[in-house]
């Protein structure tokens, strides 16, 4: 059975997924959840596939009313989550009863939160993804009154014995800091910056208010390109660090234009792109040099954590009968299957 969620206060929320991976071939950025770890974790905690459509809530307060019983999970930046006025934990599945309001307030450290709804949300797709593309003008627009389709409803889950937290799933939450250290591998054009490339690792940078999902602009000591030869446009990776102006460093994020003609000084690792997704204007960033091998190892370690979480969630949801006709009330001792 499907249900609906009615947006009461949209803030800067969007419905998104992990991204439009077929887009770059056609000149469209990948886009999708900027903090991929938190987005995946939210979906896993809600019993979904990693790539199911979910809400990305950026900076501003957000409220929606569930018109049916649903199961949600909220991850990402620390915040105050209330459901029907009760304060509820982040990074855990939470039952929402029909008529209750889910409110997100006080995102003060970090910038982006993710709200996954069991079964996923209904959203139109372009090249297989619902991720908004602000340049093309694609994406579901949310405002007060928008009715979001939830693909499934879930009867309320209650602790049968004591008033204990339902789930202790043991995921280590990513630390979100106003002074993040960002891992960077050498870019393909680092030689063009000569000795000035090292400046990147010697000083700190301040996140500018003009930063967005396309790229973060950072003020600080700028490495300088040593040549002035024009380069042919080429595909640039998400995470590319460029020095396109005399004022700021640019770190491209998931909304980046897929081609550019600026030399790529360094590339932020997949793990650190999640950390940058949580950087607020005014935050101080330091860069740390790493290698592709180390970056790959860190990414894989994080993904293995998510796999372990999925196993725990599947076990718990299986016992509770989430996503299946049975519920814990009907469980019989030693039923065998």
């Amino acid at each position: 059975m499907s249900g609906t969620l009615t947006i009461q206060q949209a803030g800067h929320a969007v419905v998104t997924d992990l991204g439009r991976f077929k887009g770059p071939r056609y000149g469209l950025p990948v886009n999708g959840a900027l903090d991929q770890f938190s987005a995946r974790a939210a979906n896993i905690l809600a019993g979904n596939l990693d790539n199911d459509p979910l809400l990305e809530v950026t900076a501003l307060d957000f409220r929606m009313r569930a018109d049916t019983d649903v199961l949600i999970a909220v991850t990402g930046a620390p915040l105050t989550l209330t459901v029907g006025g009760r304060e509820c934990p982040q990074w855990e599945p939470v039952s929402v009863l029909a008529g209750e309001t889910v409110a997100i307030r006080s995102i003060n450290t970090g910038l982006r939160a993710y709200v996954a709804v069991h079964g996923g949300l209904e959203a139109p797709t372009l090249l297989g993804s619902c991720a908004p593309d602000t340049v093309v003008g694609f994406g579901l627009k949310l405002s007060a009154g928008t009715a979001l389709g939830a693909r499934k409803t879930v009867p309320p889950i209650k602790q049968p014995y004591f008033d204990l937290p339902l789930f202790r799933l043991g995921l280590s939450r990513p630390g979100i800091s106003a002074r993040p250290v960002i891992d960077v591998t050498d870019g393909p054009d680092i030689a063009e910056f000569g000795d000035t490339a090292d400046l990147l690792f010697e000083t700190s940078y301040t996140v500018s208010g003009r930063s967005n999902h396309i790229g973060l602009r950072l003020g600080g000591a700028l490495p300088e390109r040593q040549s002035t030869a024009e380069v042919l446009s080429r595909g640039v990776p998400v995470g590319a660090i460029e020095v396109p102006s005399r004022e700021e460093l640019l770190v491209l994020h998931r909304g980046r234009g897929v081609t550019a003609g600026y030399p790529v000084l360094g590339v932020v690792t997949s793990r650190s792109l999640d950390a940058l997704a949580q950087a607020r204007p005014g935050d101080t960033v330091r860069f740390r040099k790493t290698t592709v091998a180390e970056a790959t190892a860190r990414h894989r370690a994080a993904m293995r954590e998510l796999e372990a979480l999925r196993t725990s969630v599947n076990t718990v949801f299986g016992l509770l009968g989430v996503g299946a006709p049975a519920s814990w009330r009907e469980l019989k001792p030693a039923s065998g299957s």
Partner: protein
């Protein structure tokens, strides 16, 4: 020709991408090679490889570092280059696109600057820009822009020192030895010399833009008075 594979260099570009650059002395061969490699990667549909972004002489190969790795993708790309027979690639008949442009003024704020840089008159810049058909080399940013070789200007055109925060849809720009039309409004660091009234991108259509790499595009000058009359008409192939 091409009994030997087109030589390439492969550069690390973070933990989730590689840049492959074709390095033969023949620009056309390099272009054909990177596009053939991109098509082959798409057809091969290798687990963990998201896709490829081919441009002029390079291709960015993007992958999921949980499923595969830079080392594996590099090996696979080098293998592919050996397998591919670029000369035998089927030639698609290119379509022709004609693009009306209002040059200069509010439509092309950098036209005079480009003329000064090239040591030409404004009329001379327009004459060179409209003088030939351009091969669409690739779809780029923003939003599937048709990226082409530049006009036969005497000098490469420098990019703006401080890129604009927004360039309107339809902007006709040049930079280096390249030319482009912006299908959608976006930030831009290229010199804008004109604007077309035609609509290039239709987000409700598949594909979003009407052209493909290999198609031909030609500009012609129209007076500013015609801009409003043509505004909103969709760009379509003329042949």
């Amino acid at each position: 020709m091409a009994a030997t594979p087109t030589p390439v260099e492969v550069y690390e570009s973070g933990d989730a991408a590689l840049r492959v650059v074709a390095t033969s002395p023949d620009r056309e061969r390099n272009w054909a090679a990177v596009h053939a490699l991109a098509s082959w990667l798409e057809t091969a549909d290798v687990d963990g490889v998201h896709g490829a972004v081919p441009t002029y002489d390079s291709v960015l190969v993007e992958f999921d570092p949980y499923i595969t790795s830079a080392r594996q993708v590099r090996a696979f790309v080098l293998l592919g280059m050996r397998q591919l027979d670029f000369v035998g690639a089927p030639a698609r008949t290119p379509r022709q696109f004609d693009v009306p442009v209002v040059y200069g003024g509010e439509y092309g704020p950098d036209l005079q600057k480009v003329a000064d840089h090239e040591g030409l008159s404004v009329a001379g810049i327009i004459a060179l820009h409209t003088a030939k058909s351009y091969v669409i080399r690739c779809l780029g940013a923003p939003a599937g822009s048709p990226m082409m070789d530049g006009p036969d200007f005497p000098l490469p055109v420098p990019r703006l020192k401080d890129p604009r925060l927004s360039v309107p849809a339809g902007a006709v720009s040049v930079a280096g030895r390249q030319a482009v039309i912006a299908p959608a409004a976006a930030p831009g660091g290229w010199c804008v010399i004109g604007q077309t009234p035609l609509t290039v991108l239709n987000a409700d259509k598949q594909p979003l833009v009407p052209y493909m790499p290999g198609d031909l595009l030609r500009f012609h000058q129209i007076p500013a008075a015609d801009f409003a009359r043509l505004a909103g008409r969709e760009l379509e192939a003329s042949a």
